[in-house]
């Protein structure tokens, strides 16, 4: 039996700010992995760069701390190389919805079997507080002292339109609920986005714990069923007055890996590479 202890990385102190929402995302992730009964050596957590990107160091599982924005691309390579691994990508809102948007939207289309947990604090944390793609209009930051002019990215709507097959929003202030959402994403066969509202206690004084506590509600509490794409899309636009949490959309669809005949006999990493026969390749040129 796997327990939370197995995922404990206690040789190093965590460098996040006290009170940061990242702590509870980490705790939720550990709980989700334990509840999904996965062993740490079969789990790879690929991250980007940002406060959020440091997460792999604080959990005992294989980690790939890639570049800013590249978590999903690296995770895709890992998954294709060994699809028996449980691959989870993590990163920030700038990481995934800004510099890494290209990888994110195309991974949704491909429906790789992986979960992507985004620490969405609506700010660039690590670089000390500039606007992010999810910052709300009018929000004042170091890089937008007069307020943000553009409309924010809507990650939920974006993921639904781009073909993700599990799209959820969690809140770092509700650990148990978030763990369930992450577990659902991990166990889902296909690309799962779990966008997590994660108040930044240093750089974002608007979208605070209080703000989310007041505004959020759970979709499941209102009898919402996540199987209709158009309804999900409609719900994805609810924000100003009330902010829905939970699974917006879930669908069964073949994964990318499933579509590859090369992978049906086992993962690439297990295929022998010694003495490969190239006779048939050469004879084409004779």
């Amino acid at each position: 039996m796997v327990s939370v202890k197995d995922y404990a990385q206690d040789s190093h102190t965590i460098t996040w700010c006290p009170g940061c929402g990242d702590f509870s995302i980490l705790a939720s992730l550990k709980k989700a992995l334990v509840d999904a009964k996965l062993e740490p050596h079969n789990v790879v957590i690929a991250s980007g760069i940002g406060c959020s990107g440091k997460l792999p160091h604080f959990i005992r599982a294989y980690g790939f701390e890639s570049l800013h924005g590249r978590a999903v691309a690296a995770a895709s390579g890992i998954k294709l190389a060994n699809h028996e691994l449980n691959v989870i990508a993590v990163g920030g809102d700038g990481d995934g919805y800004g510099i890494g948007t290209n990888h994110f939207v195309h991974a949704c289309r491909r429906n790789y079997d992986m979960a992507y947990v985004v620490h969405n604090n609506q700010i660039y944390g690590l670089t000390t507080g500039q606007t992010s793609p999810t910052s709300e209009q009018g929000f004042k930051t170091k890089s937008t002292p007069e307020g943000v002019l553009e409309v924010p990215v809507n990650p939920i709507a974006l993921a639904i339109t781009m073909g993700a097959t599990y799209v959820a929003r969690g809140f770092s202030g509700d650990l148990v609920h978030l763990a369930k959402l992450i577990q659902g994403g991990i166990e889902h066969k296909g690309f799962a986005l779990i966008d997590v509202m994660q108040p930044c206690v240093v750089w974002n004084r608007v979208n605070t714990f209080e703000y989310f506590r007041k505004k959020t509600y759970k979709l499941e509490d209102e009898g919402y069923e996540p199987f209709d794409k158009l309804k999900a899309y409609e719900r994805a636009w609810e924000w100003k007055e009330r902010i829905p949490l939970g699974v917006f959309y879930k669908a069964d669809a073949p994964t990318y890996e499933n579509g590859l005949p090369q992978l049906q006999s086992g993962p690439l990493v297990k295929k022998p590479i010694e003495n490969i026969d190239i006779e048939n390749l050469l004879s084409k040129y004779e």
Binding site: I49, A74, S76, L260, Q262, V269, I278
Partner: protein, 584 residues
Amino acid sequence: MRINNMTFKAGGEAGAGIATIGSMFCKLAQRSGLWAFAENDYPSLIRGGHNTFTARVSDEKIWALHGKIDLLVALNARAVMEHADEMSQRGVIIYDANKVKKEDISVKRADVRLFDVPLSQFAREAGGEIFLNQAAMGAVVAVLGMQIERLYDLIEKTFATKGDEVVEKNRVAAKMGYEHVKAAKKQEFEIKIEPKRAGKTLLLNSNDAVCIGAVKAGLRLVAEYPMSPSSSVLHWMAEHAVRQEIVVKHTEDEIAAINYILGAGFAGVRAMTATSGGGFSLMCEALGNGGIAEIPCVILNVQRAGPSTGLPTYTEQADLRFALHASQGEFPRIVCMPGDAQEAFAETFNVFNMAELAQTPAIILLDKYIGESMQIVERFKETGMKVKRGKLQTDEQMENADKFLRHQITKNGISPRCIPGQKNGIYVCSSYEHDETGYTSEDAQNRIAQIDKRAKKLNAINPNTYQPAFFGNSKSTFLLVSWGSTKGVVLEAMKELQKENINIRFMHIKYASPFAADTIKQALQAASKTLICEGNSEGQMRGLIREKTGVLIENAYLKYDGRPFTVEGMVEKIKSLMQKGEEK
């Protein structure tokens, strides 16, 4: 009468099937036991423009084009007008009388013979315009005095999978072209192909050769974004993916491509991406991630003329310094520059081993010129090719591992490497500087230790595997130096010079990193006259050699017009240097 030694050219609009005629011609030469080298020249567009395919065949091994055109298939007036001056004495131009009006062309040379063949009419009669290539091939076969059955055999082999009807229509077109020439045989032609028996050969370009070398090396994942002149690698890989059990992903961009292969390398799979300068530029940041995180991976850069979009379908060797220094900071990398298809195959295989041994990225530099030029080479030999995975740990080894240090400081800098899924190996593979465990560290002492450890790794590669190759007269005091794709033109020029009893020495450099500085320095010091030729304007290898050996190569022959070096130009350069003595 000239037998088995000639140059063929086909010219016409893009989309007219010039490349098909050319490759059919080369295949015929191959099946006739001859050697060949062929170049294509085309602008960056899909329809219109002017495309040419030039092939030289010989009964001895050849490495480059050389000499005038003996037989030209001109599919439009422009092809006649543009290449008439390049014709040899009494050369033959086959043109389509239906498409090229006599009054639109004027060939000043009285000796050149124009031969009209109603190619498009034959094609239509055979079943459509697409059979025009075959009508032209039929005419070519007749001019060269070959048996039409040889072409029929080739047609059958080439189109067998498309069904009997397609084979038949191609055959009919070929027959009409052939018989037209035979019937109208007004004059004898001076060039002839007489089939010989020969050993097993391959007809391919260096892009293909890299693909085969990579497969042989155990490649399992390709992530690539199309970019001329590297796209044929993506197409080749995609075509062979299922059968060879390789996953081939056309990614959203080159940044994704390299990050995929880093992920795959981390997970224990041999992976590669291919691109050209623009794509390689986008990969720079991740290249460094491979360096600091010690991930083996292979990047093929088929150079085209830069900077920026540059001349997309033309050649250049101007990415050498870029490949050596791409990405911020310092880390070891392998940079290999094969000189021909044979080397492209063999060195690609080696490079995969080196990358895994040194746990670091490797870059292969080809260029448009050899990447896309077809040549006939001896069938690749596989003897002695052994996949070596360095310090990659087996599952059994990891079963007993205790406090595994992925980035352990060792004598030669190479640390044991585990992969996810293995028990007892859990670590974070990080783009940050890290300690031996992989944990982020900004400690000064650790920083020095990790930089030094990584820098050492290339020394673990056996120097015999990256030495330059020497050709010609080892006693000559005239040393010509080149790298990568210029090899063939130099070898061909040396053959010409030999005819005049000029025997120079030639050093071809295949690796810019690791760099065989001692050997290169010795060779330079033993020479009294030195010349380097390279396809860039700055003399990038010349500078590198000076930096690494302290020796300045006196003379440089640099070419950066987007076109490959020519044998004629090379011969002239060498001779003028020999006569003049010093030249800057």
